[in-house]
Amino acid sequence: MNTVIVDYGMGNLRSIQHKLKRIGVEAVVSSSSWDVENADLLIFPGVGHFAKGMHNLKEYGLLDVLHWKVKEAKMPVLGICLGMQLFTRRSEEGDVDGLGWIDAETRRFCFAPGIGLKIPHVGWNLLNPRRLSPILEGVRSDQRFYFVHSYHVVCNSPDDVLTTTEYGYRFVSSVHRGNIFGVQFHPEKSHEEGMTVIRNFFDMFQARQGKS
């Protein structure tokens, strides 16, 4: 199995690669369309500005191959944080179109005045599962995951919602549609609980060697 971590200049890829190695996944960090074309699985991380992320994908010449691999060839993809947000149709961050793989929009947290909640939402929080999925196998409702974001995904179809999380109101903290998975939290920064989610993703597609 050929796992590629998409490098589109939006941060923090080496540590993910290193952590995958520890669970028996040899992944390549790459921004080459050729590597994406030949990938069997895709990790789509990302920290930063939505518009900048889309701009970079275009600049790096990755848009066509990504659309083909994910929409047509149905390659499994896991988006993390900004990665997941880019799967939506559009974002308020920069007011630009996204990849449109999930029928959803990315919106800024918006609270009634006086509620006293800080933006960005930074810190550890819980997941409330909305349906069963193998990617959540072994994840308990009292386990905490690390979040850091000012924007969140709003799904038009409730069927795409995997978990919600409470911060001022309930927001979508993970999505799943067919071959497409996205998590708003950072599994690679959420201790053992986070690694469980990553392990589950690879196990769904039998993509791990020497399971640990």
Binding site: G11, N12, L13, R14, S15, H18, K19, V47, G48, H49, K52, L82, I115, G116, L117, K118, I119, P120, V122, G123, W124, N125, L126, R144, Y146, V148, H149, S150, E166, G168, H186, E188, K189, S190, H191, E192, G194, M195
Partner: protein, 253 residues
Amino acid sequence: MMFPRVIPVLLLRRDGLVKGIHFKNHKYVGDPMNAVRIFNAKNVDELFLLDITATTECRSPDIDFVQRVADEAYMPFGVGGGIRSVADMQRLIRAGAEKVSINTAAVENPDLIRQASDVFGRQSVVVSVDVGHSWRGRASVYTHSGTRRVNLDPVAWTQKAEELGAGEILLTSIERDGIRRGYALDLVRAVADAVQIPIIACGGAGRFEDLEAVVKEGHASAAAAGSLFVFNGPHRAVLVQYPDRRLSVPLSS
């Protein structure tokens, strides 16, 4: 329910991990990687690694070290000290740091905050604000690891940093640093109430109750500490530790 973060702040000098009092008289504590491993095993919420002599010695951040930390750390961490430019930040974030913390460079060139948040998003940009008092008793911002006072009011400077694109503020009271008798609650509250971004309070924690107090009474979003997590007992014996208990507060909505 919210879980305010409890954050060890590790101070680095060339020879390793150190901790002082009032930003001075730093005592050698141990090997930083060893501390990172211990904190990792204790499932800490987050870590900050600040190189306290990088700016004064005009050094750039140590990328190799950050990479080694990133390989070990299954939790988010921020890095500060000696960061002068967006290019410096780019290297640190690519090496695996979630956040970069700027202090002196932000004061000298506030536009760096805006540039950084444009490139990395504001959640990755932490502005570190060290606060001390002048001999007249007025609170001021300090740079260069607490050695230079600048004519900036902590609240006004924090608001400016937020406006420019800071995602979080690491607010440290120089007078409380290392003394373990509680946070500067009035300072923390004044700053926290003046901005919408999260405040990480640092300086003065001596026990678990102090961490609770700075969140509940000081309105901080996270409680950071140095000595509390590396020293034990009145003689400051070195012991890397972290509370088993979690901080939790009900959502106010």
